[in-house]
């Protein structure tokens, strides 16, 4: 009698299979490491896929310079603990021009510091495959994307002309300059991610757990003031509230939720009764209709 694999077992095996496929067929892969919970799961799976060896590719963080300080500390700690090769790229042009989410808006900031920064890094190192932690349940443009998602030489996604993707047979062939974005977590849901973190005891940034934090209400979001680059507008009050984050990005663009969940069990039980999706806390998806698809066509993950 065969032991039946659970739902999570199957998702894990599928992701490991994808990791190995890339390592076997591309000449210069990289994993995009954005420090959030999905990246943490991705990192854990990469370590599993090549055990007892280390993952045969580096990890790239595109730093917008506006990430939560706790994220950067966590990133450096993980790199040291697990001994993976960490590359950090900052769009220096954007820094020179003083691009920031307050003066230039979330769209321009994200485009310059994240999308352009990513394109710069991919070109600089000549990566031909890049892993990302995106899931199909996050957003409806992502629900349409292949696991092996082709990008032309200018990193653009052509959603109307995707390669067929049959069974587990992946077309990994690209011409020089072209690349593939690879999404091992395509078929995972937010609940799967938390369940897996719980099951595997995967370390995550403490910002996911509720704690008293200094927040301001702005544009209907609770924004945490992570450093004094954030100036208070007239009428705004900084107050300490018990909050946590469902997703992590640039701190001025990431909304906190009020919560009492101080451990993984608490997070899962809050999630089960949640009435809104996790991306609701992300300012960048709300800016305009079809916002995610547009960004992806420009080279965003």
């Amino acid at each position: 009698m065969l032991a039946r694999l659970t739902h999570l077992d199957r998702l894990e095996a599928e992701a490991i299979h994808i990791f190995r496929e890339v390592a076997a067929t591309f000449s210069k892969p990289v994993m995009l490491y954005s420090i959030g919970k999905d990246s943490s799961v991705l990192l854990h799976l990469a370590m599993k896929a090549f055990y007892p060896a280390k993952p045969p590719f580096p990890f790239l963080h595109v730093d917008t310079t506006w990430k939560f300080r706790e994220m950067i500390a966590f990133r450096d700690e993980m790199a040291q603990k697990l001994g993976f090769e960490l590359l950090v790229h900052v769009n220096e042009d954007g820094v020179r021009d003083g691009i920031n989410p307050f003066d230039h808006g979330s769209n321009t900031h994200t485009h310059v510091m994240k999308t352009v920064g990513l394109r710069q890094a991919l070109d600089k190192y000549g990566f031909d495959a890049a892993f990302g932690g995106a899931r199909r349940d996050e957003e409806k443009a992502r629900a349409k994307e292949r696991i092996f998602s082709f990008r032309n030489a200018s990193h653009a996604w052509d959603p109307k002309n995707q390669r067929p993707e049959m069974w587990k047979i992946f077309n990994t062939r690209v011409a020089p300059g072209e690349s593939i974005r690879v999404f091992p977590l395509s078929n995972w849901t937010e609940l799967d991610i938390w369940q897996y973190i719980l099951q595997e005891n995967i370390p995550i940034v403490p910002l996911y757990f509720a704690k008293e934090r200094p927040v301001v209400e702005r544009d209907g979001m609770l924004v945490m003031r992570d450093d004094d680059r954030m100036k208070l507008k007239p009428g705004e009050v900084l107050e300490n509230r018990r909050v946590r984050f469902r997703t992590l990005g640039c701190y001025p663009l990431t909304g906190a939720i009020e919560s009492d969940a101080t451990d993984l069990n608490g997070i899962v039980s809050e999630m089960l009764v949640a009435r809104t999706s996790e991306r609701q806390g992300r300012l960048i998806d709300r800016d305009e209709a079809g916002s995610m698809e547009k960004k992806k066509r420009e080279g965003y993950f």
Binding site: M1, L2, A3, L5, T6, H7, L8, D9, R10, E12, A13, I16, H17, R20, E21, A23, A24, K48, A49, F50, Y51, P52, A53, K54, R136, E139, K140, A141, A143, K144, P159, K160, Q162, R163, P164, E165, M166, W167, K168, I169, N171, R173, V174, S186, N187, T189, Q195, V268, S269, L272, V273, A274, R275, T276, S277, Q280, A289, G290, E293, K294
Partner: protein
């Protein structure tokens, strides 16, 4: 679902219990397919909505979108929930497959919403390839349509064994039982040859939810399950324990000299520590020493698990091979018969070379014979010379090196492949192997005592294939003819294969369609190869308009043996010269498929020799060629001395 969970949590009060229940749930992957406007996306919207899987912010976005692009008047247009691309929302159609996730108290589901338009069939196939069940929607007012049949055939070919026939929009025919039964009857007659294990017909209204998760009050005459009841209970687990062990080697993990592991996913069956295994392609046997996984070695690995195997012996294994059970081995062959679904705008042509990929293996492949094209309407086997986009056919395939496989009907993982275009890298087709052809086993290479080297040495020359390509009237044959005269005078053993001459004999059965042109070149390339094997310097003068075929010819020869000579004369000049009066006739429409007029010429990208002919005499160009050959010692010193033998 979210309501249910919340209630359940209050009762049980522990997340642990909830998670434990989640763990026991099995997974069902299914797709919705059928013709345009039969309500596929609406059904998925309904399923997600009924499963409380739509969040508040998504619902308000949906209401906004419905007002902007919706096609359902005042009601929420659920299709907009899955049609995630801008172009889809604007045009109100589904272009590509969307994946959605939901769960009930019994099962987890991954659903692929696939497009109904014929032009997007490849996206439907993408969704179907990983599904265990297909919901085929039929509009009760329309009945079984062409796309209903096409999708059912593709679902069957891709190995889907369970069908739900959703007779949708039953409200629009007054919940009429007779309509339902007529459609079910028609579909059953059609589907009886498709080999489905089950076909379950359900009358429903996706828009209003009748018989989706709620039993309809209007269909009292229907006593079967609702859609959700059926999806929750349908038994899709094949008896996996009885299947033979198959392990496609994906990646050789070798961090240091002490560890050599073969990483992969168990495609079928199971393996335990100590089991004997065989390397499929070489037949070499060994035993499993360790089953390595992060967090500790395993005693056993089963279908679906991604592990790393360490063997007892130093046997040669690389990516693309299979580790298998010694008792039931897969086939190993370089010729086999397969069903093909074609995806690309450029038709499949027998004789053209493609890259074939299985789960982990890769080889150059050509379709040697297209046996038939399947007629979607009546399953008739129609003779065909090519397979157009979205067509299904049956053919024989030959690979440059043998691959290990099982018939697709026995194993979806080891019996499938895709075909990739060599130039664009596009995925152009999907294949399902029916059976191996024994030819490879029976026709062994006969090892001959007189070798190519010996034959070439006797002639004191280096076998070479000079492949002249260019438009009709570009001067290929003139130059090739002149060069052969000089080589011959210098004592070289040569042969000139000329397009026109060969078409009078060997290729007299071929016309000028794209398929025939491909075959024309394939035959000439094979003849040139045999002549090079005989030690000759072969001059081939053929328009050979397609890069793909010239590349095939190149790959047939030994490295360095193939010399592509691009005779580059502009179209206008060729048409002006028009030595045979062909351009005048082609431009008048009297000759079809004339290269440069209504059939393309793909110029070489990196020819060994590029002859721009304008303003140069044939003699000057032959001098260039001779110089090139001399530099490479193809025409060696005694030729230089001008002496004969």
């Amino acid at each position: 679902m979210r309501h249910n969970l919340a209630e359940k949590l209050v009762v049980s009060e522990t997340v642990d219990e909830y998670l434990a229940a989640q763990e026991k749930k099995s997974l069902l992957r299914f797709l919705t397919c059928g013709s345009v406007d039969d309500g596929k996306s609406t059904l998925i919207g309904r399923l997600l909505s009924d499963a409380k899987q739509i969040f508040e912010d998504q619902l308000s976005a949906l209401e906004r979108d419905s007002r902007k692009h919706g096609t359902t008047g005042e009601d929420i247009d659920f299709a907009l929930l899955v049609d995630g691309l801008e172009a889809e929302r604007e045009q109100g159609i589904t272009i590509d497959v969307a994946y959605r996730f939901f769960a009930t108290s019994k099962r987890k589901f991954i659903v692929a919403d696939t497009p109904g338009h014929e032009q997007y069939t490849r996206n439907m196939a993408t969704g179907a390839s990983t599904a265990d069940l297909a919901i085929v929607l039929v509009d009760a007012r329309q009945g079984v349509l062409r796309q209903t049949r096409r999708h059912s055939i593709i679902a069957s070919l891709l190995g889907i064994r369970h069908i739900v026939l959703a007779v949708n929009k039953i409200d629009l025919v007054g919940f009429d039982r007779a309509v339902f039964e007529r459609i079910v009857g028609e579909y059953s007659r059609f589907a009886q040859d498709l080999g489905f294990a089950s076909v379950t017909a359900i009358p429903m209204s996706a828009r209003y939810g009748d018989n989706v998760s709620r039993r309809s009050d209007e269909t009292g005459w229907y006593s079967g399950p609702t859609l959700i009841e059926h999806l929750e209970t349908v038994d899709i687990d094949e008896d996996a324990s009885g299947r033979p062990f198959r392990f496609p080697v994906q990646y050789v993990n070798r961090p240091n000299l002490d560890f050599r592991g073969f990483a992969g996913t168990v495609a079928s069956g199971a393996v335990a520590r100590g089991d004997e295994i065989v390397v499929a392609k070489s037949g070499k046997a060994s035993r499993v020493r360790r089953i390595v996984a992060h967090g500790g070695d395993l005693e056993r690995a089963v279908e679906g698990q991604a592990v790393t195997l360490v063997l007892e012996d130093e046997v040669e294994v690389s990516r693309g091979n299979l580790l298998v059970s010694p008792a039931t081995r897969p086939q190993v062959a370089d010729q086999f018969a397969a069903n093909i679904v074609w995806f690309d705008e450029k038709a499949l042509l027998p004789g053209r070379s493609y890259i074939l990929r299985t789960e982990t293996d890769q080889a150059s492949a050509t379709v040697t014979e297209l046996k038939y094209r399947l007629d979607i309407n009546d399953f008739a086997h129609a003779a065909a010379k090519s397979l157009e986009m979205n067509e299904v056919g049956f053919c024989t395939i030959s690979t440059q090196s043998p691959i290990a496989f099982d018939p697709f009907a026995e194993n979806r993982a080891t019996g499938a492949f895709i075909l990739i275009d060599r130039l664009t890298n596009a995925t152009v087709g999907a294949g399902m192997i029916r059976h191996g052809l024994r030819r490879a086993d029976n026709i062994h290479w006969h090892s001959l005592d007189v070798t190519k080297q010996a034959r070439a040495a006797a002639k004191q020359q280096k076998p070479t294939v000079l492949w002249f390509t260019g438009l009709s009237g570009s001067g290929k044959s003139t130059i090739a003819n002149l060069l052969e005269r000089k080589l011959h005078a210098g004592g070289r053993h040569t042969y000139l294969l000329d397009g026109d001459n060969i078409r009078h004999g060997l290729n007299r059965d071929l016309g000028f369609s794209e398929a025939d042109r491909v075959e024309n070149i394939r035959r000439v390339a094979e003849v040139a190869r045999l002549m090079a094997d005989a030690g000759l310097i072969v001059l081939v003068s053929f328009i050979s308009p397609f890069r793909a075929e010239r590349r095939v010819a190149r790959e047939l020869m030994s490295p360095g043996e193939f010399v592509e000579v691009f005779v580059d004369t502009p179209f206008e000049e060729c048409a002006r010269r028009d030595p045979k009066g062909l351009y005048a006739r082609a431009l008048n429409g009297e000759i079809k498929n004339f290269t440069g007029v209504d059939s393309p010429y793909e110029a070489p990208e990196k020819p060994e020799i590029h002859l721009a002919t304008l303003g140069r005499t044939p003699e000057e160009m032959v001098d260039v060629l001779e110089g090139w050959l001399r530099e490479r010692e193809i025409a060696d010193q005694h030729y230089d001395e001008g002496g004969g033998i």
